[in-house]
Structure formats: structure tokens, C-alpha cells
């Protein structure tokens, strides 16, 4: 039934000129914004989200996913041409992509990246179609304790996957949970942390917060290190790679794609983890590992395939559990909620049309990225030459309009600016902001299900340990939070024992 709905939706989208126009605009905007250094996929999605507020849900999803998919490849353009990875996931793309540019093979490097990105995206989509219903079917047995445990697991997992200290990232997640609870409590009508300010009574809207944390904070960060460096124009050279050459790398693409999908499907593991594993794995398996880092196509193809495949993977927990897989799916979830669409396990039974919109949008967005990506290989050099200061001013304008447009309320502009400043301060002192956004999304889910569980059990916390899934998830959370402390303790013990052994000698 879902499959037939999917084909109907696909046919509907693909034969409607307005929809095709939307895909094309989304793909081009995603490619351009993704290619501009300093604009991440998350930022591109956050600042263009307001454009969809006046649309119906179907076209809005199509447009947003089109931006999402194409900006993932777009981020690789600046990594390959300028050694400026737009996103953490593009870091490994520049390792072998930029040396190819230096060798005058920028066109070929972009083609490899585009081909791998398309194949990876297709495999990610296929896995999404297969895995999401299975996981959702499993999750229909979830009750409040399981949902509370999944929300906690999402926050802790993201903290664990964040760069730096897990404990610090977890605290940032908890702060996000606090922010998510500002406003009226639905169960008791209590006002929480509002100081009787009317603007805070309905809580923080997710969109201005996200625009502030990921859009404005990044502009402020760029401005704090403002300098205008004249760049050198990369040589594009020959564009097309022999088809046989691409086909000969099928194993590399497949490996990268599967790694990307499965790592991407782990809540909060994210594409950056996926690409680093894919790159390391390919280098380990290569007969010429010494060529990695000097412009080896396999070193470009593997992380690109993993990066694109992780999109499909990260959509699995979003659709099946209502838990975003990474930052960008968190933004996407915010956008879906604006359009009245709440992902979760019952979605497949209640609203198969919504699921088919997502599947069809991913497929068409991949096609559009391929078509416009090929067309833009030569143009992409020009995109990377757009003065960053010009883009930053325009993005600041988008941030203001985006924050206002969500509820037509100027208070949201102040909220956006406040969170932009907070994000800027946090990043300057080395505190990760992504767990904060995750906490904001997952906090209300956690609180609602935690309190509901405790009401069912009449206040007994053992309800979370009596049910196997919630018990297992809570155990994993405890281990993940304690792991850094345990490993630090073990390292200390090892140092002591080796010191004692040295003294004994």
C-alpha cells in the first residue's frame, strides 16, 4: 500500500511543472548555498525554511528536502575547490579532493564526488524504505517509558558523538531540555521560567532558536575573525571521468554507502562520524594506502558516498521514532512540525502519504542534484568567488525575516538574536551548541513521557527498569555518560602502575 502511494506521489510530483520548478529551485539554492564557504547544510535549510511557510505540506517537504540533499553535495564543492569544508562531513572530501584540484583535475574531482553522492544517496534511500517501516513497526509497541528512554538516549548519544567532553555536551543537552520546558505546563497549567512575560508563555519556538544558534551564531563567528583574503581561481580542467573508471569503483561506493547509512541511522551519530569511518576503512582496504591524501579518487568517493547515504540513514530514526538523527534532521523536523506533520512510529499506519512525500522528495532531489550538479561544475568556481561578506549580510536579513515569519511576531526576532549571541559565546568558549538544540526538541518529549510513566506507576521509578527496551536504553545512556570517567580512571591506574614498575626497576 505504501509502495503504491509512493509511486503515485512520485508520478504526481514528477509530472507537475510547479513541483519540478520547486525541486529545481531548491536544488540550485542548495548547491549554491552549500558551495559558499561558511554556509553549512543546516544553515542553508534553516534560513530557507521560512520560504515554505506559505506552501502546502507536500511542496514544502519537496522543497526542503531538495535543499537538504543538494547542499550536502554543495558542501563538497568548496572543500574540493578551496580546501574549505562547508560542513564537518566534508572534511574528508577535501583530503583527496583538494590535491586533485591542485593537479588541475578539479572537474574530475567534482564529477567523482557527484557520482558517489548520487549512488550513496540512492542506497541511503533504499535502506530508508526498507529499515524505517521495520523500526516503526517495532516502535508501535513503545509506551511512555520507552519514549522517555528514547528521548534520553538521543540526548546522551548526541553528547557522546560530539567533539570534546561527553559530560559537557550532556550538560548542554540538559540546558536544552530546560529551555524546551519554558512556558505553560500542559498537565498543571503552571508557568515555568516565564517571569510572567507574555512572550515566553508559549515557550520558545524552535525555528527562531535554530536560526539563531546555527545561522546568526555562525555569521557572528565569521565576523569576529573578519578578514578578506584574495583567493586563487581553481583550474577546472577536464570534467568527465570515463564511465568505466566510475564503474570500477563500485565496491568503494557500496562500502561507503552502507557505512554512511548505518552510522547515519544511529541517532545523533551523524554524517561526520560516518565519513571518517568510511575514509579510514577504504584506506585500510586499499592496495595503495600511501596515495590517500595525495588526490586518490577512492579517498574522495568513499566519504562522499557515505556523506550522502547518511542522509537516508538519518531520516530512519526521524520517520520511525520521531527522533532526529542529526542536526540537519533536527531542523527538518522543526520545519515538518511547522507544517503540522509530526514524525513517529504511527506515521506509517496513520499518514502513509506523508512518508511517501519524503521518499519521493529524496529520490527527485537526488536526480535534480545530479542534473544541476553536472551543469554547475564550471559555474561552481564562480559560486565560491561570491564575497563572503555579501552572503553574510544577506543571510543576516534572512535570519530576521525567517524568525519573524514563523508567528509574525517581532519577539521571535529578539529570541533569534538572543540565541545567536548565546551560540556565539558558547562556541567561543568551546561549548557545543548542537546538544542544546537537540535538548530543546527532545526535552518536551522526555518530560511528557517521564511524568506520564510515573503517574501510571504511581511514582515508582522501577517502571523504567521493568520494561526491557527502556531498561536497555537507560543502561546504554549510563554507560555512555560514565565511559569517559571510567576510561580516564583506567588511564590513570595504568600510568600509576607503569610508574611504580619503572621505580621498581
Amino acid at each position: 500500500m505504501l509502495l503504491s502511494t509512493f509511486f503515485d506521489t512520485l508520478a504526481g510530483f514528477a509530472t507537475d511543472p510547479a513541483m519540478l520548478g520547486l525541486i529545481a529551485i531548491g536544488a540550485v539554492l542548495g548547491l549554491i548555498l552549500g558551495a559558499v564557504p561558511g554556509i553549512s547544510s543546516t544553515m542553508a535549510l534553516a534560513i530557507l525554511m521560512p520560504v515554505t511557510f506559505g506552501m502546502e505540506p507536500g511542496p514544502a517537504i519537496l522543497f526542503l528536502i531538495s535543499i537538504f540533499m543538494s547542499s550536502v553535495y554543495g558542501g563538497s564543492v568548496s572543500a574540493i575547490l578551496m580546501k574549505l569544508p562547508g560542513t564537518p562531513a566534508s572534511i574528508f572530501t577535501q583530503v583527496d579532493g583538494y590535491p586533485m584540484t591542485q593537479q588541475g583535475k578539479a572537474g574530475q574531482a567534482l564529477t567523482y564526488a557527484l557520482a558517489a553522492s548520487t549512488i550513496g544517496g540512492m542506497i541511503g534511500l533504499a535502506m530508508l524504505v526498507v529499515l524505517a517501516p521495520v523500526l516503526a513497526g517495532f516502535a508501535t509497541n513503545f509506551r511512555s517509558p520507552e519514549f522517555a528512554a528514547v528521548a534520553l538516549f538521543g540526548i546522551v548519544m548526541l553528547s557522546f558523538a560530539s567533539n570534546g567532553s561527553t559530560l559537557v555536551a550532556t550538560v548542554m543537552g540538559l540546558l536544552g531540555v530546560v529551555l524546551g520546558m519554558v512556558g505553560f505546563d500542559s498537565l498543571t497549567d503552571a508557568q515555568r521560567l516565564t517571569m510572567n512575560a507574555p512572550a515566553l508563555q508559549s515557550g520558545f519556538n524552535l525555528i527562531p532558536v535554530i536560526i539563531g544558534l546555527f545561522g546568526l551564531a555562525e555569521i557572528l563567528q565569521n565576523l569576529s575573525g573578519f578578514r578578506d583574503k584574495p583567493g586563487t581561481t581553481p583550474v577546472i580542467g577536464r570534467i568527465f571521468v570515463p564511465f568505466s573508471d566510475l564503474v570500477s569503483r563500485w565496491k568503494v561506493m557500496l562500502r561507503g554507502s552502507f557505512i554512511g547509512t548505518f552510522i547515519g541511522a544511529i541517532p545523533a551519530a551523524g554524517s561526520a562520524v560516518a565519513v571518517s569511518i568510511a575514509y579510514a576503512q577504504e584506506r585500510r582496504l586499499s592496495k595503495t594506502p600511501e596515495k590517500f591524501g595525495e588526490g586518490h579518487p577512492d579517498g574522495l568517493v568513499a566519504p562522499e558516498a557515505a556523506n550522502s547515504a547518511s542522509v537516508g540513514g538519518s531520516l530512519v530514526p526521524l520517520i520511525a521514532l520521531g527522533v532526529p538523527g542529526d542536526t540537519i534532521t533536527a531542523v527538518l523536523m522543526g520545519a515538518l512540525m511547522v507544517h503540522g506533520l509530526t514524525p513517529g512510529p504511527l506515521l506509517f499506519a496513520k499518514d502513509p502519504l506523508f512518508v511517501s512525500w519524503i521518499y519521493a522528495s529524496v529520490l527527485l532531489a537526488l536526480m535534480a542534484t545530479l542534473v544541476f550538479g553536472i551543469g554547475m561544475i564550471r559555474v561552481s568556481v564562480l559560486v565560491t568567488k561570491i564575497p563572503p561578506q555579501l552572503m553574510q549580510v544577506f543571510i543576516a536579513v534572512f535570519c530576521v525575516i525567517g524568525a519573524f515569519a514563523i508567528r509574525n511576531d517581532m519577539n521571535d526576532v529578539y529570541v533569534m538574536v538572543g540565541f545567536g549571541v548565546a551560540g556565539f559565546v558558547f562556541s567561543r568558549i568551546g561549548l557545543p551548541v548542537t546538544p542544546l538544540a537537540f535538548g530543546l526538541i527532545l526535552g518536551p518529549i522526555l518530560e511528557e513521557n517521564l511524568r506520564r510513566s510515573l503517574m501510571i506507576s504511581r511514582g515508582s521509578w522501577s517502571i523504567f527498569l521493568e520494561r526491557p527496551i527502556s531498561a536497555a536504553l537507560i543502561a546504554v545512556c549510563v554507560v555512555l555518560v560514565a565511559l569517559p570517567l571510567i576510561s580516564a580512571g583506567l588511564a590513570r591506574l595504568r600510568r600509576r602502575s607503569s610508574g611504580a614498575a619503572g621505580q621498581a626497576r
Binding site: P50, V51, F53, G54, G164, S165, L167, V168, V171, L174, L175, V177, V178, M181, D185, L187, T188, D189, A190, Q191, R192, L193, M195, L220, Q221, L223, S224, F226, R227, D228, P387, Q389, L390, Q392, V393, F394, A396, V397, V400, I401, A405, N408, M410, V413, Y414, V417, G420, V425, F426, I429, G430, L431, L446, L450, R451, L454, M455, I456, G459, S460
Partner: protein, 166 residues
């Protein structure tokens, strides 16, 4: 032992202070909310303030822990970059102030003219700081600024019918 945040004692200290401050402010605000609440909870429900209080206490504990770690690891800074002086914060500060003024400007002038003024000033400023104050470069700023205003008027006001102040 190394400082936990980027190997920098300074950042660890700053993070500890931020966490403690947020905890204290949060608990004070929560106290006011609790005092104003007259309702009651269902049996078993830990109440509307339970999770917030738990998270804030955890934040405070983490802040205190970071302060202790910063004190213990003092002098072991891994050479992390110093926080730049006020000069590095001037442009971000100016942008924040101008963004805070934007809603007022939009109400006074209308959205498109406000965007044009904002974009012109900022493009001019950044171009001047980046390339020097040459009239040839500065003259492009109003062009881009007006372009931004027209874009907002056409796309957001006309096409998408967003109720931006006009």
C-alpha cells in the same frame, strides 16, 4: 590531567562560570515560578518543576566540577588560542545591535526600505574594512542594498504574502 574543554584552562574556567551562572539564574527564576503556582499535581507526577530543577542542579554541579578542574589544571594550557581582545568582538557586537534595531526600523520605514538600509550600511562597512575605503567599491553597497530590499519586497511580501511590516 588536561583541561576538558579544548585543552584550555581559560575555556574550562569560562564554561564553569557560565554553567554556574545559568544554574543560579535558572533556579532563581524557577523559585519565582513555583511561588506563583497555586495548582496541584496528579498522584505519582513529580510536578511541573521537577525535571527543570534536576537539569539545573546537574548544570550547576558540572559548572562547579569544571571550576575545580580549571583550578587543578592551571598552568597546563595546551597552547589553545587566546580569546581575542575587544577588537574581535566589535563587528559581532555591532551586528547584534543593528539586528536588535531592525524590528523598530522595519516598523518605521517598512520592511523593504529597512532591509535596504541595513544591507547598504553593512555591505559598505565590510567592503571598506576588507578592501579599503575606495569610493569605487563603496558605490556598489547601495546597489546591493537596494537589490536586497527589492528581493524582500518581491519574494517575501508579494510572492509569499508574509505579513511583514509595510
Amino acid at each position: 590531567m588536561q583541561p576538558p574543554i579544548d585543552g584550555s584552562t581559560r575555556k574550562t574556567l569560562a564554561a564553569g562560570l557560565v554553567f554556574l551562572l545559568l544554574c543560579l539564574v535558572g533556579l532563581a527564576m524557577l523559585g519565582a515560578s513555583r511561588a506563583a503556582w497555586q495548582g496541584s499535581s496528579m498522584p505519582g507526577d513529580p510536578g511541573p518543576f521537577f525535571l527543570i530543577r534536576l537539569c539545573l542542579w546537574a548544570t550547576g554541579a558540572a559548572g562547579a566540577g569544571l571550576l575545580i578542574l580549571a583550578a587543578v589544571t592551571r598552568g597546563q594550557d595546551r597552547g589553545a588560542p587566546r580569546v581575542e581582545g575587544p577588537g574581535a568582538l566589535a563587528l559581532p557586537g555591532l551586528l547584534v545591535l543593528s539586528l536588535l534595531a531592525m524590528p523598530v526600523l522595519m516598523k518605521l520605514l517598512g520592511s523593504a526600505p529597512a532591509v535596504a538600509v541595513f544591507a547598504t550600511l553593512w555591505i559598505g562597512l565590510l567592503a571598506g574594512l576588507g578592501h579599503g575605503w575606495q569610493p569605487r567599491r563603496l558605490i556598489t553597497a547601495p546597489l546591493f542594498g537596494v537589490g536586497a530590499g527589492i528581493f524582500v519586497q518581491l519574494v517575501f511580501v508579494r510572492l509569499l504574502s508574509l505579513p511583514l511590516p509595510n
